[in-house]
Amino acid sequence: MIAYLPIILVFILYFSSIPIAYALFGSSLFYFAVIDTSSPVDLILQKFVTSTQSFPLLAIPFFVMAGSIMNYAGISKKLMQFADVLTGHMAGGMAQVNVLLSLLMGGVSGSANADAAMQSKMLVPEMEKRGYDRAFSTAITAASSAVTPVIPPGINLIIYALIANASVGRMFAAGYVPGLIMTISLMVTVSIISKRRGYQPVRETRAGGKEVFHQLRESIWALLFPFGIIAGLRIGMFTPSEAGAIAVLYCIIVGKFIYKELGKEHIIPVLRETIFGTSGVVLIIVSASVFGYYLNWERIPQAMASGLLTITQNKYLMLMIINVLFLVMGMFLEGGAAMIILAPLLVPVVTQLGVDVIHFGLICIVNIMIGGLTPPFGSMMFTCCSITRCSLQDFVKEVIPFIVALLISLILVTYIPIITLIVPNLLYGVA
């Protein structure tokens, strides 16, 4: 039993307000300093070194930086106008624009929280002015931001590929269809609610072809971005981390010379966002690797795997159990952290049952995004509510239909593998 003490300790530390990385450090160090001192301490530090000194990890700061630059380059305004000509005429026009904008933003920024924050500031006040309920506007902003990280180049897609030893290119390609399904299910939900409540379209008629084409041309540089990355990876022009560096260069050029909005004053905020965004995630990866050293020392992953496999050998039942596990973890932990801790433990189990590694990655990511919307600790929920000053109770009431929509998408992604695998299989051939 004492072997499991560090796991309990993680929970105690975490719920007494210690950040998850430090909770993992603390409990693994407690194990090696107090419970089992037979492992030399410098081997633990070795984990700090080996888990960070990896070239593929460089993709994380690069794509964080690229997304941040695109944001300051005024791309979100351009994409919003594009979303507006496409969906403004539908019932609940502004809300539809909100959903579609998250999908489009997904192609440049890989972080749900960044998207949630940006849209809370940009769209929610505008929606309220047009008669939308504040809680509804906040809920749809938070819910739609769940789509952003599923679309390439989402940071979580990269992190999962690194953890699970999967191809980053395949992971990127796999995100499209699940992201589209989530978008469609949210838009249908918006449409149903808007018709019932009489939320009006933004424009009276569908935008004409000319106007659509004009807006398409305005935002084409951002829309092409993810396709360029995937094409470059596919033909082996560059590695994922190199793709990230090229992406940074691309965004600087587009922001500076085409949109002409990027200036010297943006250098410091971009760097600050890059440093904080990256070091936070990487520190969690390091701490999870130190914690994994303890888990492996006690052979807990093996025990857990055989435990899970004695419950069921059925692939579909297992995925259901894992989904529930992830949803519960996602309620309490920031999504990225839940994936970084759980994925290494679960990937061997599901691959043994014949689940594709890429498919499982998308299940994990869609899942943890839903966790970001639920109380008590959903991160997108907090981001949006704190910006729009919406009370959590009102938010929860309004977000439930959207969570249901996303859960339906999750079930589709889980049980119809072709949704995830069709694009990577077309691009790379069947694995």
Partner: protein
Amino acid sequence: MHQAVKKVLSNFELIIASAAIIVTTALVMLNVFTRYFLRTGIYWTEEVATACFVWSVFIGAAAAYKHRAHVGVDMLVNLCPPKTKKAITIIVDFVLLLINGYITYIAVIYISLSYKKPTPVLGISTAYISSSILVSFALTTIYSVYFLIKDIRQPATGGTT
């Protein structure tokens, strides 16, 4: 002038981390360009870029620690009455001090054992890279002491925010 010095000092981790990440980005870009246009890669870029990245991550983590930017869940603690809340805060500060101090300690041991090992490409001491961990956690240890003292001095407040 005085103001500027203060600003630099209070943000020095961010400045170091930013410089490191700029070097990382520039080197990786450079390598792609030389590979395509000069048909030859620069053999040491990958190692130096990774080393700069490691420095940027760990020094950046120290910066985030100083600005208390690492997210923790304080919802349960906030539900406690003011006195309990203050007690928990102080215990948490103390635990964090222990964790950071201990990592600093094992970093010293690790570096003293491994500094002779050369890096694979350039053959310089690995201590040039691993000392980033030591510097980072030495800094966070200092900040932990500072937060501990600050929180002890602060009167018990709040409760149900």
